[in-house]
């Protein structure tokens, strides 16, 4: 997977999900429903190495989806 594409798509999803008050939950739901698991894995791996590339919503979503890659 191309990390730059995954980062761009995930950030775009997080700011576009309809209810920004529930942005993390809706981002998690969207990635689960529409992304192949390998894409989420690849994004989580990238995030572990480049924590500043994704926004806070995506970071929180990844922590929920792939806790094994999360920081701290």
């Amino acid at each position: 997977m191309r990390s730059d594409s995954l980062v761009k798509m995930a950030n775009q999803i997080s700011v576009s999900v309809p209810n920004q008050d529930l942005a993390v939950e809706q981002t998690v739901a969207h990635l689960t429903s529409f992304w192949a698991p390998a894409m989420i894995d690849a994004l989580a791996r990238h995030h572990a190495e480049h924590p500043d590339d994704v926004n806070a919503t995506v970071a929180s979503a990844l922590a929920e989806l792939r806790p094994e890659y999360s920081h701290g």
Binding site: M1, R2, I13, S16, N19, P37, A38, M39
Partner: protein
């Protein structure tokens, strides 16, 4: 021209609820008030002679052949223009009327060539038939008087001729051009004996505004307007009903044949989608099916540097299967996938996605709808509960306000556009929301009362502003919302849409739409009895495509414009079977019928029937596959009937991805841009050879019938089945109807569909099941598919693609009438006469600034790439916006489009690309 066994009742039917009773030739007849005497007689089996009358056109009363005797009335009125009345007694056959008819016929024939035996319409000529019916035996006036027999024939149109020497000035062609097509390109010029049919202002047909829909040819009762194929090949001897394979309108046709040779395509009057009309593509542009460049035998090669090697089907299948399995063994089960095609039948698509899920063992299946209407699928499912337009096409005939957003129906969906224009001529109000001045904005007898000429990329802002007006000015249909919609979602949406940031005034600068214009448009939409929205790819192919679809759905629900005739939300689908390809489970996250792969109950149903385990998580979409290919994670792809190397955005990236794969399998009619990267070429079948179904934009499932045997020796579903079997997953069907039976067994919305049903009733619109055995023309009538309609908040998020000093213009792309998508079909027909190359439309102000003259070759560059084409100076586009089509690989418009995409679906943002345009030097052009 007539179809042999098709009854022509002479005048249109009446829809009156009041009946009248009369007697015709001693037979008592009861008909709706407003029915003509001619039609009433025809319905009773009494054929009154006629020439200028046909039931496709309003009564005209010019030929005098249909005169009748009506007791108590003076003279002999024309039966076509005389409405039936209670107690009327009509005699259609009296010596007096017979004498009049014969006399009229003598006059016609005195100025008509007597070449029936060598005339291409011999046996298919209403004048010839009527001469027989009235008993013409001689012409007292002779044939040496002043006449039109030496008039020059106009052969300028590539598909039909105009031989004025055979014209009887019945005006059927002129009326068809106006009433049916709505172009008004033809007229009767001159008076009396000098009257003649004229294209435009005395131009040739090709040089006039004629759009070559062929309605005039079909309406002509003689050989004056005649298909060149009939002149060349002769009269058809058999016919088969089938469905056009171009756009999402899905026109029904009668294919008229001589043996296995197609002579002409005649639109079917009984066709649910087209009601007897057609466009230049459907009626005439089918010659590609027999084009010399068709590939008819399988081909393979070990590397793309090698030439193709023709081989047998068995070897090609074995070659492909062996390599697919080897790649999976080395790189994993998820390293391969495939793409289904919206040009193929439901049955062909279904077996491809089945092969991928069951034989490949993953969900890496996607479809070309990814790059067009995937946001429609997402947006309408979120709001209404299912991915489909809400209406049938005929619904537009009851609309009072029609909103066209990001669509150009006269070019891309011309047969539906004719229907829409007819309603507009009757007085419906038109609102166009589009950066371009599309033809509908101003065309003969059609004028958009509101043209919201927004800047590309600001769709959501405009529709939010319209909804803001609806909510803040008290125009919400509170009763509909209270009864039919989810209250919590409405409250949240209403609170959002009320925000001052969504007002027309706040958004005017961003959208470029004056606030007062937007407000009046909003009021018109919200207050009309029936308002309908039609939209195209100008809605979906944006970074907020899915958001925009939901914004449209919100607006329709808030104003109660859902669930009855004349209203609705209607996506105009691009290709012939976009709807069907999506229905058939082509998306990586959904099985047939839009059910998520994670739904255990649904998945177990498929597993039980298919006898294979299915994966519960989504697979890769097309852009994901291509991205993965560039880093070596995706190694092989099966591409059914798509040319992604030309059609998908950011061509350089697509080429790099395809070049990186170990195996590319292309199934298509012709070698194309994608096949340059392919290792296996599996020849496909044209629609003339297919047996199956297409589903059009109104969810109408139409039969596609083979009118000739497969020229490759295999049906496409047989090829797919053979490949799946060679992969180790036995798949076998004897007929395409067995595949539909399997679809019906697994898909609740198709539960009642079978070839038998379609052959009996013509077509049905899904859902078609026990509750609606003949289908569902209008959806969400009593409740939404999801129960209560769901409002979704739709914040406007500007696209990342913005103009800069380096790229100061916005490029948007679209289609033209004569060409179709990447042009694989239409470029191999005489349609290139009208559009031999892609052209860049540019506003005069932008051109002047750059020293660009009309016809100049220019370079169009973006951050993705650069291409060249010629410029047309046009005020159809506003300053700051340029526009082109993408039909020709030479210009390759997608070289400059970027990899930006819709946030929810990855549908590419074709409609917004920041570019610069510079004149090219002569040296550049020559090079």
């Amino acid at each position: 021209m007539t179809i042999a066994d098709e009854v022509d009742f002479g005048t249109p039917s009446s829809s009156s609820d009041v009946d009248v009773s009369l007697t015709i030739d001693g037979t008592s007849i009861c008909v709706p008030a407003g029915t003509s005497v001619m039609r009433a007689a025809a319905e009773a089996g009494i054929a009154i002679p006629k020439l200028c009358a046909t039931d496709r056109l309003d009564a005209f009363g010019s030929c005098r052949m249909c005169v009748v005797d009506i007791e108590g009335r003076k003279g002999t009125p024309a039966s076509c223009t005389t409405p039936c009345e209670d107690g009327m007694v009509v005699n259609t056959q009296t010596p007096h009327v017979a004498k009049i008819r014969r006399g009229v016929m003598e006059l016609y024939i005195s100025d008509h060539p007597l070449d029936c035996l060598t005339c291409p319409a011999n046996g298919d000529c209403e004048l010839q038939d009527m001469a027989g019916v009235v008993g013409l035996r001689d012409v007292r006036y002779g044939f040496d008087g002043e006449n039109h027999l030496d008039v020059t024939k106009d052969e300028s149109n590539p598909y039909f001729t105009f031989d004025a020497s055979k014209c009887i000035a019945c005006s059927r062609c002129v009326r068809a051009c106006g009433e049916i097509q709505g172009t008004f390109a033809l007229t009767i010029s001159g008076r009396g004996f000098g009257s003649k049919v004229s294209a435009g202002a005395g131009e040739t047909f090709l040089g006039s505004e004629c759009v070559s829909c062929g309605a005039c040819v079909q309406a002509c009762p003689t050989s004056t307007l005649q298909e060149k194929t009939v002149i060349e090949l002769g009269t058809p001897t058999r016919k088969v009903k089938t469905t056009c394979a171009y756009c999402g309108v899905g026109c029904s046709f009668v294919a008229e044949m001589r043996g296995n040779e197609l002579v002409r395509m005649v639109p079917d009057k009984a066709g649910g989608a087209n009601a007897g009309h057609s466009c230049v593509k459907g009626r005439f542009a089918w010659g590609y099916a027999s084009h010399a460049e068709r590939v008819l035998a399988p081909m393979v090669r070990d590397s793309i540097a090698e030439p193709w090697r023709e081989t047998s089907w068995d070897e090609a299948i074995s070659f492909a299967a062996t390599r697919l399995k080897a790649i999976q063994d080395e790189h994993g089960v998820d390293s391969i996938g495939g793409i289904t095609s919206s040009r193929c039948t439901n049955e062909e698509v279904f077996v491809v996605q089945k092969m991928i899920r069951a034989a490949f063992g993953n969900n890496n299946v996607d479809t070309c709808a990814r790059v067009c209407h995937s946001p429609t699928g997402y947006g309408l499912k979120q709001t209404f509960g299912t991915s489909a337009g809400t209406q049938d096409f005929a619904s537009v005939e009851e609309s009072d306000v029609i909103v066209v957003i990001g669509a150009n129906p006269t070019d891309a969906h011309p047969v539906f556009a004719s229907r829409m224009k007819k309603r507009l001529r009757e007085g419906a109000e038109l609102i166009v929301i589009d950066p371009r001045r599309i033809d509908l904005v101003q065309s003969p007898h059609v004028h958009a009362s509101h043209h919201l000429q927004l800047l590309p990329g600001t769709n959501v802002a405009v529709v939010n502003a319209i909804s803001h007006v609806v909510v803040t000015e008290g125009l919400v249909d509170t009763e509909f919302v209270a009864e039919r919609c989810d209250p919590a979602s409405f409250d949240a949406w209403q609170a959002f849409i009320r925000l001052p940031e969504n007002s027309p005034e706040a958004l005017a600068e961003a959208t470029g739409v004056p606030s007062e214009l937007l407000r009046t448009a909003a009021r018109a939409y919200a207050t009309a009895p029936n308002s309908a929205i039609y939209y195209g790819l100008g809605v979906t192919e944006h970074s907020q495509g899915s958001t925009m679809v939901m914004a449209i759905a919100n607006l329709a629900m808030a104003t109660g414009n859902i669930g009855r005739r004349g209203v609705g939300v209607n996506p105009l689908r691009g290709q012939n079977n976009v709807q069907g390809a999506c229905d058939m489970g082509s998306f990586p996250h959904e099985l047939a019928g839009y059910r998520h792969v994670s739904d255990d109950t649904v998945r177990h149903q498929f597993e039980a029937v298919w006898g294979a385990p299915l994966r519960p998580e989504p697979g890769l979409r097309i852009p994901n596959m291509l991205d993965a290919a560039t880093v070596g994670a995706f190694r092989a792809i099966y591409i059914q009937g798509e040319d992604i190397a030309q059609s998908d955005p950011n061509t350089q990236h697509v080429h790099a991805a395809l070049a990186a794969m170990d195996l590319v399998i292309v199934q298509d009619l012709f070698l194309n841009e994608t096949s340059k990267f392919a290792h296996v070429f599996l020849p496909g079948t044209s629609f003339l050879e297919k047996d199956g179904t297409f589903t059009n934009a109104e969810r109408r499932i139409n039969r596609v019938r083979p009118i000739m045997p497969s020229r490759t020796g295999m049906a496409e579903w047989e090829v797919t089945s053979a490949l799946a079997t060679a992969m180790g997953y036995p798949m076998h069907y004897d007929t395409a109807s067995q595949i539909m039976d399997e679809i019906a067994g697994l898909t609740p919305t198709f539960a009642g569909v079978s070839f038998d049903l379609l052959d009996r009733v013509g077509s049905v619109q899904w859902p078609c099941n026990d509750a609606t055995p003949l289908g569902t023309p209008i959806m969400h009538e009593d409740h939404f598919v999801r129960g209560l309609g769901n409002f979704v908040t739709t914040p406007y998020v500007p696209t990342d693609e913005r103009t800069t000093r380096k790229f100061p213009l916005l490029l948007t792309t679209g289609r033209i009438l004569s060409q179709y998508n990447v042009g694989a079909q239409t470029r191999r027909t005489a349609n290139v006469t009208w559009h031999p190359e892609d052209i860049l439309d540019m506003h005069e102000a932008d051109a002047e600034l750059r020293g660009i003259a009309d016809g100049t070759w220019v370079e169009v560059s973006s951050r993705a790439g650069a291409t060249s084409m010629r410029v047309r100076i046009s005020d159809d586009v506003p300053a700051g916006v340029v526009y082109t089509t993408f039909h020709h690989p030479g210009s390759g418009a997608n070289v400059v489009t970027t990899d930006n995409s819709d946030w929810a679906t990855n549908c590419p943002e074709y409609k917004v690309t920041a570019v610069e345009v510079r004149p090219r030097s002569h040296a550049d052009v020559d090079a």
